[in-house]
Amino acid sequence: MIWRRALLLTLLTLTGLALETSLFGRASLAGTKPQLLLLATIALAISEGPELGATAGFTMGLATDLVLGLPKGVTALVYTALGYLAGMLRMQVLAPTAWLPIVMEAAAALLATLLYGAIAVLLGEAAAGGGALARHAALGALYNALLTPFVYPLVRALGGRFRPQRVYRA
């Protein structure tokens, strides 16, 4: 049932955005802030698959663009691609370890910052220089990796609770 997924995405997006702009807006790691909505997107992709990963990426990315006054669609594009990729990669791993979500979240944060920077430059937006971009990407990856043990289990549990119930027909 699609409304269960819609409810889950709305809940995670609103909570994530409010936390990003209040608590984590000030709690930076050497000047770099975490990407909570990307954390949630990748966590959903790992636990629920590439379909929800891509949908969550688009929803949360677009919400980020709209609320933060960023160039519209850029974060949506980046998060959609990463949500899908994370879901596909997870399906290839037969025996996942506890480190897998941490490594995937860190890699996704690193790629998201670099991709966003590259697209911003292509669109002629004022963006940080190469050195600052690499620094933000590395620190952002570290920050998201540190937050994964707290966020991933929570999002995975919510994903399971809001999973559509299958209807079997004779």
Partner: protein, 278 residues
């Protein structure tokens, strides 16, 4: 029955749809330049999120301050011994009244600035900071309901803060002058030389129109306030901190330290317009 290949095909189709939608949104946004339907939706979203941010800010402020403090530890190590001695004496009092004193000082400065400007202003509190690593902006607890509109200048007790870039009903987003996309017409107070003050992410740089302009470290920079400009004239912006040696060709660029400490911004004034006639 849905076969595995059907499921894969459906996922790929969904991905293609979402990526195409993103690209269409990027194109539409690029063409409308901040005045399209997407920006209207964005402003509505800011309005919905405002009260939630306000509540969370109150709950999490001590936690946020703790994390911010962690980042400063390396540069403060040599002062630890001295501070520990002072702390033992002051801690009991300071913990109770420190916040009140800071707030009081900040509000006094804001009041002085308000009297000095002689403009219609609206006091407002900072309720959030953008989490983006590419943009320097803050959210304030005043919106269109209070008369705040896009483009209005915002000042703090020490000087210029920025301008409103999006306004919801009860909250608004303010682009800080240190943001890379911020341009402010500036003037050096001792000589009257004018130029453009641009943000560099953390500090400011002043590009003087006259390459032979006389400028010294410590000179104050204020808004130039041209007729068509966003900012009224005479609002303090910062002080010149560095003048690169050697001759520069078409213009002269100097480093400027903003007067406002953006890491601890609490209360601001939104300039609504000219002062009411008395």
């Amino acid at each position: 029955m849905i076969r595995l290949s059907d499921s894969k095909r459906r996922t790929r189709l969904l991905l293609a749809l979402l990526l195409t939608a993103s690209l269409v949104i990027i194109t539409v946004d690029f063409r409308t330049e901040g005045d399209g339907v997407l920006d209207t939706i964005g402003r509505a979203a800011v309005t919905v999120l405002g009260p939630l941010q306000e509540g969370l800010r109150k709950i999490f402020r001590p936690v946020g301050s703790f994390f911010t403090g962690l980042g400063r530890v390396p540069s403060l190590q040599h002062k630890i011994e001295l501070l520990e001695r002072q702390n033992a004496l002051l801690r009991s009092n300071q913990e109770q009244v420190g916040d009140v004193f800071r707030e009081n000082a900040s509000l006094r400065q804001l009041l002085a600035m308000r009297q000095r400007l002689d403009l219609r202003t609206l006091p407002s509190q900072v309720i959030g900071v953008t989490p983006s690593n590419f943009e320097r902006s803050v959210f304030i607890d005043a919106g269109t309901r209070d008369g705040v509109r896009k483009g209005m200048p915002v000042v703090g007790g020490e000087g210029l803060v920025g301008r409103v870039i999006a306004a919801g009903a009860s909250s608004a987003e303010v682009l800080l002058i240190v943001d890379r996309s911020s341009d402010v017409a500036g003037r050096l107070t001792p000589t009257g030389e004018t130029g453009v003050v641009q943000g560099s992410g953390t500090d400011l740089r002043l590009e003087l129109l006259n390459p032979y302009a006389k400028v010294a470290v410590g000179d104050q920079v204020v808004t130039a306030g041209y007729d068509q400009g966003v900012y009224p004239a005479g609002i303090p912006i910062g002080r010149v901190t560095r003048i690169p040696p050697g001759r520069q060709s078409l213009s002269k660029v100097v480093s400027v330290q903003p007067l406002v400490d953006f890491s601890s911004l609490d209360y601001v004034l939104v300039i609504l317009g000219e002062a009411a006639k008395r």
